[in-house]
Every structure is written in structure tokens, then in C-alpha cells.
């Protein structure tokens, strides 16, 4: 009898718990969810937001693993906030939206200029959003950007969103801007946040790869002319200050940002050749050690010394190149030094003077100079950063060319 009572109690408890957890179960279980892959936020009419959600139709992902691109569905809705947009979409779809697999958040440039800190706070408050989700500011409307994000080599768009930034480690043309990092930089008083600059490349069709690699110095998203098949392009950075978009960086400036921030593993630069006029050499550089940033205060203004060291490999070759000569290599190294120092200095003064935004988090390095937090807060790094002076020194050691040394 005692055993029966035990079993009976167990069944009752099980039933009570099942019923009480059933509401959560209904909301989050696998059969009831619509998986959002990307969110686009535009400025709507009358102070509203136009929120676009991108889904992948799961039934199109076949069991055998099709190599064709799975079709995506994009739905836009006007709402006063993100949470109400999600709510409205739930009722529209009849399923619960889950943001747990959202890999991309796109803000339109217009909205970013007005400030997005509230939206970022809302996202970070949501238990479902991933801090590793990429943040993009698009020069065109966000839903247009998402609509035109079509991966060439990936069947699933979610994988494409995760991987499209991975090339930046070897090009330096855009940075890894995640939601968690954006939020962290936004609330931090010693740095500012940044996002990937996205746009639509109208020229893109057959010349896609060449278009990216040749125009490296002035490339910025959305800068190509019209006509042709469309595709999204992510080159450059959007610079924020206190949650508002204040400027953009082009590809080479982004490269400078990545080098100073120690996030690039290798990159290609073109320097004028010392041997042949009107010719440029392509040098592939890799960092030899981390960039050293040294901050000191001179008359109350920050004096920032930056020293980087790279080793290089010559990638381009002509029919009369001679890279076995030490003098030639030295001259090429010096050309690289001058070029990089110029690029870094331009970038630093642009962000400090024009944008007044410390996206490289140099302020964190200055924390060492203060004894207490109140001293730091009293100093007000953000206000003083625009008065900074920079001393950039770059040391490039071009070691050799690739397979051929002499022609």
C-alpha cells in the first residue's frame, strides 16, 4: 500500500509540474518556433520603427543536404519598439519568434544617426539574443540590404552571416563587430562602439572578386555605380559616439583600426615601386608582435605613442625584379613604413578630431595612469581624446618575395 501511495504521489507531482511548465513549453518548444536569422531596423513614419525579420523556410532544407541555396523569407512590420514588433509578428505568423539564432542585426544609416542605444539595451536585456550576433549599419535601407544578402557559396544564409566577417582577419577591410562588444563599448567610458558598414554593390556580377581586390584604398560600401545584379557588400566601419553614428571609415582606415587593435592576422598593401616609375608593389604584411600603445599626458592632453612591427612578403612580380638585393628590400621596407605611418596617422586624427570617438579603446590603456576611478571620471577621457597628439612609428621588415626571388 505504501508503495502504491508513493507511485501515486509521484504521478500527481509529475502532472502538476507538467501543467505548470506547459506554458513555457508551448512558447519555446521546437514545434512552435519561427527561427529568425536576421533583423533589420529602419526608421519608420511618425517616430516608429520598421522592423524586418528574415526567416529560412525549414522545409526547404532537405534531409540529404542540398547544395542549393535555401530560400529565405523577409517580413517587415511597423511598430513602436522591438518588443512590440516581435509581438505583432508572433500574432501574424501564428508561431513564436525566437531570436536565439539571430546572426545579424542591421540598422539603417538614418536610424543610426539618431541613436540606437535604447535598441541595443533592449537586445541585451533579451535572454534569447546572442552577444556574438553581428551588427551592421547599412547605407541603404536595412530591409533592402537583407533582401539582397545572397550567399554564393553557402546553402544556408545563417552560416553565411556567421562566416562573412571571417575574411577580415586576412584583409582588414572590415572588423568583427558583435552585439556584445558594441554594448560593452557603448557603456564603457574609455572607448566607443563601431559597427560593420554595409551596403549594396550594384556593379557586382562577373567582376566581383576583382572589384574587391583592386580598389583597396578608397573602397567603401555602396560606392559603386548602378546597374547589374545586386549583392550586399561589407567594407568599412561605422563609427559611433555614445550610441549615435558620427562617421564612416573606408577600407584602408578600417585596416589601420584593425592593426592598432591587434585583430588582423595579415593584409595586403600596395606601395609605389622604387625601381619602376608608376608601378606599385603588392606586399603582404603580418604582424610580428602586438602593437604597443603608450599613453602619457602632456599639458593635460593625451600624448599617444603607437609602435607597430610587421614582417612582409612581396606578392607582385615583374620581369626585372630583383629581391635578393638587401638595399632593394630595405628601400621597399622604408616605403611600407612611410605608407603605413601616413595611413595610421590619418586614421587616428580623423577619429580623434573629426569624429571624437575612441573606437580603438586607447582610453583603456590610459587607465593605468590613474590611481582611482573617480580621478579617471574627473579627467573625462572622452572629452580630452579630441585633443590628443599621436606619434606613430611603424617598423616593416620585408623579408622576401614568394616563390620567385629574382627575375
Amino acid at each position: 500500500m505504501k508503495h502504491l501511495i508513493k507511485v501515486f504521489c509521484f504521478v500527481i507531482i509529475f502532472v502538476i509540474l507538467t501543467v505548470s511548465f506547459s506554458s513555457s513549453y508551448l512558447q519555446v518548444n521546437l514545434d512552435n518556433i519561427a527561427v529568425v536569422v536576421a533583423i533589420g531596423i529602419d526608421k519608420g513614419e511618425n517616430n516608429t520603427l520598421k522592423v524586418s525579420f528574415q526567416f529560412t523556410a525549414p522545409s526547404s532544407v532537405s534531409e540529404s543536404g542540398s547544395s542549393e541555396t535555401a530560400p529565405t523569407i523577409l517580413k517587415s512590420i511597423d511598430a513602436s519598439s522591438i518588443s512590440s514588433a516581435v509581438n505583432l509578428m508572433n500574432s501574424h505568423l501564428g508561431k513564436e519568434l525566437t531570436l536565439a539564432h539571430c546572426k545579424l542585426v542591421v540598422f539603417s544609416e538614418e536610424l543610426a544617426k539618431e541613436g540606437i542605444s535604447d535598441i541595443i539595451y533592449t537586445f541585451m536585456n533579451d535572454a534569447q539574443m546572442r552577444p556574438s550576433c553581428n551588427v551592421v549599419v547599412s547605407k541603404c535601407p536595412a530591409n533592402y540590404y537583407i533582401e539582397n544578402s545572397k550567399p554564393f557559396l553557402e546553402p544556408l544564409i545563417s552560416k553565411y552571416y556567421e562566416l562573412f566577417v571571417s575574411s577580415n582577419q586576412f584583409t582588414g577591410y572590415t572588423a568583427n563587430a558583435t552585439l556584445g562588444k558594441f554594448f560593452d563599448n557603448m557603456i564603457c567610458q574609455s572607448c566607443d562602439s563601431y559597427a560593420i558598414l554595409g551596403g549594396i554593390n550594384f556593379q557586382l556580377s562577373k567582376n566581383a572578386q576583382e572589384g574587391f581586390s583592386t580598389k583597396e584604398s578608397a573602397d567603401i560600401s555602396n560606392s559603386a555605380s548602378l546597374n547589374g545584379s545586386t549583392s550586399s557588400e561589407n567594407v568599412g566601419l561605422a563609427v559611433f559616439r555614445e550610441g549615435k553614428l558620427v562617421g564612416e571609415l573606408n577600407a584602408i582606415e578600417t585596416l589601420a583600426f584593425m592593426c592598432i587593435g591587434n585583430t588582423v592576422k595579415g593584409f595586403l598593401i600596395s606601395v609605389p615601386s622604387s625601381q619602376i616609375e608608376n608601378e606599385t608593389l603588392d606586399i603582404y604584411l603580418t604582424p610580428s608582435h602586438k602593437t604597443k600603445i603608450d599613453v602619457s599626458f602632456v599639458n593635460g592632453s593625451p600624448f599617444i605613442k603607437i609602435h607597430s612591427k610587421f614582417s612582409g612578403q612581396i606578392r607582385s612580380m615583374t620581369n626585372d625584379s630583383n629581391y635578393l638585393d638587401n638595399e632593394v628590400l630595405k628601400r621597399i621596407s622604408e616605403a611600407c613604413n612611410r605608407y603605413l605611418e601616413y595611413v595610421f596617422t590619418q586614421y587616428l586624427y580623423k577619429t580623434a578630431k573629426e569624429y571624437k570617438s575612441d573606437i580603438n579603446a586607447i582610453g583603456k590603456t590610459s587607465l593605468k595612469l590613474f590611481k582611482t576611478i573617480s580621478q579617471y571620471e574627473d579627467y573625462g577621457w572622452r572629452e580630452h581624446f579630441q585633443d590628443s597628439f599621436f606619434d606613430v612609428s611603424v617598423d616593416v621588415n620585408v623579408k622576401s618575395s614568394s616563390l620567385l626571388s629574382d627575375s
Binding site: 507531482i13 502538476i16 509540474l17 505548470s20 511548465f21 506554458s23 513555457s24 508551448l26 512558447q27 519555446v28 536565439a100 535572454a127 546572442r130 552577444p131 556574438s132 552560416k159 556567421e162 562566416l163 556584445g180 560593452d184 557603456i187 564603457c188 567610458q189 574609455s190 579603446a361 583603456k364 590603456t365 587607465l367 593605468k368 590613474f370 590611481k371 582611482t372 576611478i373 573617480s374 580621478q375 579617471y376
Partner: protein, 365 residues
């Protein structure tokens, strides 16, 4: 119950479990809001003070072989004093454990069960307590010793998994809020070492009472390392300038871990281990409370209390109406209560009892 004896390693695990359970909830954030960037230095400083306290407790307990603080308070002030002290310790254990349980369940609710009433999230913990209270104390200790290594590994993994996201500059400015805030008022951070309260109760259970010194010191040192790992994870990952309080900071920290594309969002796995840990913590605290009550009332067996104390815990856990009251209780009331009971009352009782014993010895000579 004192027929069961535990080894010194099990005793160390018991005490460190109490330390760890608090870190899983909001202890790291509480410490950071007190001392900001100087928290790591402050922790080492406070850890040394806690080590001293542990050593003092060992020295004071040494004269009372295999007696716990309830017996000593009876020796000091008779049965009435014993009952008062016992009541205070029960209130301390039940209060802190129910608050911790409630906070953890709130975190669970936010993370996994947004539509479920908090009562139903608390109930499974209470049911487990019903079951474990009916088993023997030694089997409870064995369960804790089985679960403990996984918790250790999870915290270390959390630290090293997030290594690439750390900004080591966040350890500066070195003095944080200032010298006095770090080293003088910063002593208040010693409430983190509330697990020292178990040292008052374990002497009767020890198989090798001569190992008491090793237990006292090793458990505080391991606890200190734990705190350093957890606090460093939160400090180096999140900015301390703006006080953004997370419900479960370590849960938020776990969401940053990613290895490639496949291993992302591993927080539910961490939560699984932490649920086991909180369960173990509740088992230990419940056992101690029941043991104190049994001593106060001279009951023959613990069986009648096996169901009552968990229900008591459930009742107190349900008292706060919203999350702000829970945080208020934790930061403003329980932290001072811990310092008062564990570091002031306990040591005072031991000190006075030692004085009384010395006086009696002199009189007998």
C-alpha cells in the same frame, strides 16, 4: 547523525560548495559594485583576513575536541543561550539559503521558463530536499563529492573559454574607488566567505579531528581561488563603469563562449551543472539546520523534520514579491547579517568559552 564520520577532503568540499554556490548567483557583481576595478586586489586582501579568521576559529575550537558551536554555547551560557544561538544560526542558514535559491530560480525563470510561476520552479528543489533528508548524512556528503569536481571544471572552463574576450586593462585603475574604499570599507567584502560558518559545525563529524587546521586553511584558499576566477571573468568581460546588473552574471558570461561555429550558446550546459551545485548547497544547509534544531530540542531522530524544514525554506523563498526586494535583501541585509553572525558572533562565543575554560582550569589548579 554524528555517528557518520567524514574525511577531511569531504569536509573541504562541503565548505567550498557553500562558497561556490554564492558565486554562481550574484556574488561577483556584489563584490564588483563595492570595489570596482580593485576587486581582485581587495579579494586577495580579504582572503588573507578570512584565512586569519579561519585560523583563529581553528585555534579556539581546538580546546573543545569534537564539539560544535551549539555545544560550546551551551557550555558557555546554559540551555537558554544555546537555544538563542541555535535560533540565530538557523535563521542565518534558512534566510541566506532561501534568498539564494529564490535568486537562482529567478535567473532560471528569465533564462528558460519565462511563463512559469516561480513557485513551480522552486518546487522541484524542495522535492529533492524531501528525498535527500530521508537518506543518511554520509550519502549526502558522497553525492556532494561526486558533483563537486564538475562544478570546479565548469568555472575553470568558463574562465578559459572567455579568455579571448577579456580586456586586461579593466584591472586598472589599481585602487578602484580609492584606498579607503578598497582596504578599509572594502573589508565588508568578507561576507563572500560566509562558508566559514560551516567550520563551526563540522568538528563532531570529522573522522580525523587533527586535520582540522588543514581543513580550515585549505577550504579558504580554494574558495579564494574560486572567487578570483569568477570575479575576474565578470570584471574582465564586462565594463564596470556603468552598473549594469545582470540576473546571473556568470550566465551572461557563458553566452560569450564560442569555439568556431558549432560550439556556441553553451549556457544551458553550464546551468545544468549549476543546478546540481545549488541542489547540493541546499542539501548541506538543510542538514545543518535540522541538526541544529535537533540539538536544541533533543530529538531522537531527524525524520519528523525531514519535510518541515524544506517547506520552511519554500515559504521564506516565496516571501519577496519582486526581484528588487530580493537584491535589496541580499546586498543590504544579508551581507551584514553574515558578517555579524559568522565573523562576530561565532568568534565571540568561541573566545568567551575559551576564557571560561581557562578560568576553570586555573580554579581547579
Amino acid at each position: 547523525m554524528t555517528d557518520t564520520k567524514i574525511t577531511s577532503k569531504e569536509a573541504i568540499m562541503l565548505i567550498v560548495t557553500i562558497f561556490v554556490s554564492h558565486t554562481i548567483v550574484t556574488l561577483s557583481k556584489n563584490l564588483l559594485s563595492n570595489t570596482k576595478s580593485a576587486t581582485l586586489i581587495n579579494l586577495i586582501y580579504v582572503g588573507i583576513i578570512a584565512l586569519l579568521f579561519a585560523y583563529i576559529i581553528f585555534r579556539l575550537l581546538r580546546n573543545f575536541a569534537s564539539l560544535d558551536i551549539i555545544d560550546i554555547s551551551q557550555y558557555l551560557g546554559g540551555p537558554i543561550f544555546k537555544n538563542i544561538v541555535g535560533g540565530i544560526f538557523i535563521a542565518y542558514f534558512i534566510g541566506t539559503s532561501s534568498n539564494l535559491l529564490r535568486e537562482f530560480c529567478e535567473g532560471l525563470r528569465v533564462a528558460f521558463f519565462p511563463m512559469t510561476n516561480i513557485l513551480f520552479i522552486l518546487i522541484p528543489f524542495i522535492l529533492v530536499l524531501f528525498l535527500t533528508n530521508s537518506l543518511s548524512f554520509s550519502s549526502n556528503i558522497k553525492t556532494v563529492s561526486l558533483v563537486f569536481p564538475f562544478v570546479l571544471i565548469s568555472i575553470v572552463f568558463l574562465f578559459f573559454g572567455n579568455f579571448q574576450n577579456f580586456s586586461f586593462e579593466r584591472m586598472f585603475p589599481l585602487l578602484g574607488k580609492g584606498f579607503s574604499d578598497t582596504f578599509i570599507t572594502g573589508i565588508g567584502n568578507i561576507f563572500a566567505f560566509s562558508g566559514i560558518s560551516c567550520l563551526y559545525f563540522i568538528p563532531p563529524y570529522l573522522k580525523e579531528p587533527q586535520q582540522m587546521k588543514k581543513i580550515c586553511l585549505t577550504s579558504v584558499i580554494i574558495g579564494l581561488f574560486y572567487f578570483l576566477f569568477c570575479t575576474a571573468t565578470v570584471l574582465l568581460l564586462f565594463s564596470f563603469f556603468v552598473d549594469v546588473d545582470e540576473v546571473l552574471p556568470l550566465y551572461s558570461a557563458a553566452s560569450y563562449i564560442e569555439f568556431g561555429v558549432f560550439f556556441q550558446r553553451l549556457e544551458p550546459l553550464f546551468m545544468l551543472i549549476w543546478i546540481l551545485e545549488i541542489g547540493c548547497y541546499m542539501i548541506i544547509i538543510n542538514r545543518f539546520s535540522i541538526h541544529i534544531f535537533q540539538k536544541m530540542t533533543n530529538l531522537k531522530s531527524q525524520k519528523p523534520l525531514a519535510m518541515i524544514f524544506p517547506l520552511f525554506v519554500l515559504g521564506i523563498a516565496l516571501l519577496p514579491q519582486n526581484y528588487s526586494i530580493i537584491r535589496f535583501l541580499e546586498t543590504n541585509i544579508y551581507s551584514y547579517f553574515i558578517i555579524a553572525v559568522v565573523f562576530v558572533l561565532g568568534i565571540t562565543i568561541l573566545f568567551l568559552a575559551n576564557l571560561k575554560k581557562r578560568k576553570e582550569r586555573k580554579n581547579s589548579l
